[in-house]
Amino acid sequence: MSLKIAVLVKQVPDHEAIVQIDADGTLDIEDRYVCSFFDEIAVEAALDIRKANADAEILALSVGGKRSVESLRRAMAMGIDQVEQLGDDSMDGADGLAVASLVAARLKTFNPDLVLAGKQAGDDDMGAVGPMVSGLMGMPLVNAATSIDVDADGGKVRMTHSMNAETWTVESGFPIVITAQKGLAEPHVPVVMRVMKAMRAKITNTSIEDLGVPASDSTGRLKRLGYYSPPTRPQVQMVSDVNELVAVLAQRGVI
């Protein structure tokens, strides 16, 4: 069986980027973006599967404008040959369901056996797109997988995933959506030849119209009203024993 794998990637602020909340409640993010941590793991997992299934076809998808192209170039540099940008700048910041609607529309023509995504994005941590794609496509979902063992000829895949400090082993047929947890794969540093190939590649774009997604689905339903910093943590006072703790609590009128 020749496997068809789709990988979903997103560009997010680098964890070292300086992020500030302005006085008007908007985010000011340093212009330093990277492919989301868990998405890179998903890309590497797809490449690992292809190592054992040489005829596997992998398509990386990203929704949005210029930044989505950067994440696709990253996927190309890592080793994926087919990449596709879905939509345009109007999708930047769109909610999970709007993004999943575009992805699902494209997957209906690609017909993947396996959809891989990061378990959550490195910016909003919503963890929404993978599960929503699963729902829209009517595919089973395994979240936060830490291992994937594909039996392409047998038409099944075995996975482990962790939940509530327990590790589960599950098995499924195809197609299936799997989201990647840390430990599933170790993203490699791309060789410069592939970096340069990705750098110069023309990235295919499919518009919202061509995907046939109506405005009612591609327009986000969630609206961000603003950002605010969490309250500053009160100063911590260390005490050496219970007697001192009781004394301090009494002094402060707590007891």
Binding site: E70, R74, V189, P190, V191, V192, M196, M199, R200
Partner: protein, 386 residues
């Protein structure tokens, strides 16, 4: 006029940054403390293809343009000044004349393994009485039996003690002074070629630096690199432009790393009841750095662009090197003052930035000599400096 990098170059920078973050930065302190050549890291960078960055594809290189090389130099220095020096010596100075003038046989024997990381190369200018002043070169190459006999000693050679081959500047006709200088390829194992003292340097540690000795080394004529003898200085100018811009970008990266580290410290260090980042005199240090750093990068990338466009930019490259490395010393000094006493502790990175910043002052020409050259050009030709 557009001051932005292209999307492609931005992507290339992000890829190098990733390699530096994952492969070099976890080893930065270890390289500095041990002062040993990081052979495993060298292999990793060779396998990734970076040692062939600017060489033709037919020899296993990547054919990168000048601007990509510059981005590479800047990002590498964020990781480790010493390792960046070893790598840039290999991909720029160490192999430049071999690729440009070596016979096909020499390229197969020397360049191809250098790109694979199997052979280490270097270039030799400096002697005990010459460096910025190339006219003081005392190493000689004398014509004999259809070849050349090389005699002399070279000092401060990056990668020198571990090199497999080197490009050596030598005097072929003392009566012609600077017009008698030429470049020669010397390979490990040749009779009379040996290494001298390794230097225990203050900064840029991990790049092995030392003395090379040439005692009646016989070289076949094909090891004369260039179109005949006597054009060494002209050829040196071609590469010195790029060396100077590379050094300037190393300086920009080190200053930026030092100040980013100091910024985090200033946000966390509380003095008199508030973070020191709230004090105006501390803020002024960040302001000065930002201005100096921005000016340095603009001057440096303009010089890089002029190299890429094939323009005459000898003085712009000198200016960039001088301004950016002086900026680096000043910014790192201010960063250390923000850090206070902790900047003097080996447990924190500021002391390394202080040591590395000093190293950059000297390579590519000391500033007394560069100032003299820039000033003379200004007097000669007016404001353009040409």
């Amino acid at each position: 006029m557009d001051f932005r990098f292209s999307e492609e170059h931005e992507f290339f920078r992000s890829a190098i940054r990733d390699a530096v973050d994952k492969l070099i930065r976890p080893k930065t302190q270890e390289i500095d403390e041990s002062n040993e050549f990081p052979a495993e890291l060298w292999k990793e960078f060779a396998q990734l293809g970076y040692l062939g960055l600017r060489h033709p594809e037919k020899y296993g290189g990547m054919d990168a343009d000048v601007m990509m090389s510059m981005i590479f130099y800047e990002e590498m220095a964020r990781g480790s000044c010493g390792f960046a020096m070893s790598v840039t010596m290999q991909i720029l100075m160490g192999t430049y004349f071999v690729e440009r003038f070596g016979s096909e046989e020499i390229k197969q024997r020397v360049l191809v393994p250098a790109i694979k990381g199997e052979k280490i190369g270097t270039i030799c200018f400096t002697e005990d009485q010459s460096g910025s002043d190339l006219s003081g070169t005392k190493t000689t190459a004398t014509a004999k039996d259809g070849g050349w006999v090389l005699n002399g000693r070279k000092q401060w050679i990056t990668n020198g003690p571990i090199c497999d081959f080197c490009t050596v500047l030598a005097q072929t006709d003392p009566s012609k002074g600077m017009d008698g200088l030429s470049f020669f390829l010397v390979e490990k194992g040749m009779d009379g070629f040996s290494t001298g003292q390794d230097l225990n340097k203050l900064g840029s540690r991990g790049s092995i630096t030392g003395e090379l000795i040439f005692d009646n080394v016989y070289l076949p004529d094909e090891n004369l690199l260039g179109d005949g003898p006597g054009n060494g200085v002209k050829l040196a100018t071609d590469i010195l432009n790029e060396v100077r811009v590379m050094t300037a970008l190393n300086a920009c990266a080190i200053a930026d790393e030092a100040m980013k580290d100091a910024r985090q410290f200033a946000l966390e260090r509380v003095s008199f009841g508030k973070p020191i980042a709230k004090y105006q005199l501390i803020r002024s240090k960040f302001a000065d750095h930002w201005v100096w750093h921005e000016a340095s990068r603009l001057l440096t990338y303009k010089a890089a662009w002029m190299i890429q466009e094939g323009m005459n930019c000898q003085f712009e490259c000198m200016m960039a090197k001088m301004f950016a490395t002086e900026m680096c010393v000043k910014s790192v000094d201010e960063a250390s003052r923000i850090y206070g006493g902790n900047s003097f502790a080996m447990e924190y990175p500021q002391q390394r930035f202080l040591r590395d910043s000093r190293f950059l002052l000297f390579g590519g020409g000391c500033h007394e000599v560069l100032r003299n050259a820039i000033g003379a050009a200004f007097i000669r030709a007016g404001k353009s400096g040409r």
